[in-house]
């Protein structure tokens, strides 16, 4: 039982006529990293709130860190950390006061809470801002403080709900580094995200959800392959060379090589990203195939949804309020 850190079976949550979760199953092994990927309104946050005891499901059950969330919420709470989409910090308190309060409420004692707050402030680069009210913090600082709050007790299972949504690119990279450190240390992680790239960067397994249902699961590579993944695209100027270009590309392709005779575009799905791209360019060079344009195109969340559901994420997003559960 304990080799599984998080297990949910048939979770259902309805809000009136809207079904936010529709029989969702998921599982994260101890030390595993699951990315819950989906557009706004897909049910990601609802799932996290159920797993963290903040919400009671209408149907189904969930076991986290060995305890049922419905019957033993306090045992679950003692073993998890949660950092939400909207930073759960007190605006009028300072960063230090926030962390000390959480530490004392986690029963670390006054001294213990203060010591832990200092450690976390240092680790999350918040020492200079420690004694200023959170009101004046930037978005990135707030998220870091919120994550620090989730780590006060060094929980074995961590839930991160859209940890980088709304952050600028630099803060996002910083957050990714912090998350990688945590998972490298063995923390079990369930994170939700709207970005395929983020799931790719951080997660070992990805569960794509839409309308409260799981629509695909697998490793990031499997997922990208499923939707055409990363494609090397090159445009061959001389029609006579198209055949040779196809042969070269076929060596790297994980699927059929596609050719557009009109434009001279030859493309194929590949693994390995830009490293593979470099190898393709070298190989073309050796074979004397001159190409006009060459590039690597990555699948976006839109393409995942287009492939899996037949509708782009944006369009679904726009009707999410009405269409969810339909």
């Amino acid at each position: 039982m304990m080799d599984v850190a998080v297990r949910a079976e048939g979770l259902v949550k309805r809000y009136g006529a809207v079904t936010a979760l529709d029989h969702l199953d998921l599982e994260v092994p101890v030390g595993g990293i699951l990315g819950l990927l989906g557009p706004n309104g897909a049910g990601k946050t609802t799932a996290v709130r159920i797993l963290t005891t903040l919400l009671v499901p209408d149907e189904g059950r969930a076991v986290v860190a060995g305890y049922d969330v419905a019957t033993h919420p306090d045992e679950v709470r003692a073993r998890i950390g949660l950092s939400g989409q909207y930073a759960a910090v007190d605006q009028d308190l300072t960063g230090r006061e926030n962390l000390v309060m959480v530490g004392r409420l986690s029963r670390l004692g006054r001294r213990g809470a203060q010591r832990r707050a200092v450690e976390l402030l240092e680790r999350f680069d918040l020492v200079d801002a420690a004694d200023r009210p959170v009101k004046g913090y930037s978005g990135g600082m707030r998220r870091r403080l919120d994550l620090a709050g989730a780590l006060v007790t060094t929980p074995p299972v961590l839930f991160l709900d859209e940890p980088t949504t709304g952050l600028d690119p630099r803060s996002r990279l910083g957050m990714w580094d912090v998350i990688r450190e945590l998972t490298a240390a063995g923390t079990t992680l369930l994170l939700t995200t709207q970005y395929l790239e983020e799931a790719d960067q951080l997660a070992r397994d990805v569960l794509v959800i839409d309308d409260g249902r799981a629509i695909a699961r697998g490793t990031p590579d499997e997922l990208k392959t499923m939707v055409g993944g990363e494609r090397v695209e090159l445009v061959v100027r001389e029609r006579a060379l198209i055949g040779r270009a196809q042969t070269v590309l076929a060596r790297f392709a994980i699927d059929d090589v596609r050719t557009d005779e009109q434009t001279g575009m030859v493309s194929a799905a590949v693994h390995g990203g830009s490293a593979t791209l470099t190898q393709v360019i070298d190989a073309l060079d050796q074979d004397g195939v001159a190409v006009g344009e060459v590039g690597l195109r990555r699948a976006t969340l839109d393409e995942v949804f287009l492939t899996l559901t037949g509708a782009p994420a944006d369009a679904r997003d726009a009707d999410a309020g009405v269409e969810v559960g339909a």
């Binding site: 759960a88 009028d92 409420l105």
Partner: protein, 267 residues
Amino acid sequence: MNRLAWALHDGHVIALRNMILIRRVPEVLVGVLVAPVMFVLLFAYVFGGSIDTGGVDYREFLIAGIFAQTVVFGATFTGAGLAQDVQKGIIDRFRSLPMARSAVLVGRTASDVVYNVLTVFIMSLTGLAVGWRIRSSMLEALGGFLLLLVFAYGFSWVMAYVGLLVPKPEVVNNASFIVIFPATFIANTFVPSENLPGVLRTFAEWNPVSAVTQAARVAFGNVPPDMPVPDVWSLRHPVAYTLIWVALLLIVFVPLSVRQFQRAALR
């Protein structure tokens, strides 16, 4: 530590957090302190001359009533503060911690006692300035202040429940007044209860606000000698009657509020 000890510990931590907020947002404190001064001056000077208390100095009669009314009004802060807490993001953090479910409520009602102590202190000074005097002993007077604070604590749990029932913090004031106006005006706070007609008179005589007012008047030595105490048990034994009410309010509204807090936070 057992469950109760942890609940008190967690409530204490939340109360400390609320005290920090008082220091950091002092505008709230100004409102808390100005209102009692205004009440004392308003009733003493505007109504002071035109209400018949049977030849007794009205201001003397009035002060205990204003004290009672003001601490009851002060309970609105408890409701508003809780409604705000529930809306803040921090509530998700609280709820994901293995802390006592009652902590946010226990902490809020406890830190509001501090507001009430300040309020009573300011009102006393204002009262003394307009001619009110304690005509009993200091010890008896302290007993009177203590009873007012205990009653305020019990009543703050009623407002805590109201604060958690309403959908938005802004609605708390309106919702509170539905409870507070009848409770504080249909009483012996500003006029002797025997001046009231039939049903209202009975309501006033059994109204706990009347009892706490009566008890405070006795404690301060402000009961006019030529004004007979109505012959009802509640006003003949005002301290006991007040304490019974406080116990009842706590027994009913503590569990009710804790349950409602859970629900409100789930929204």
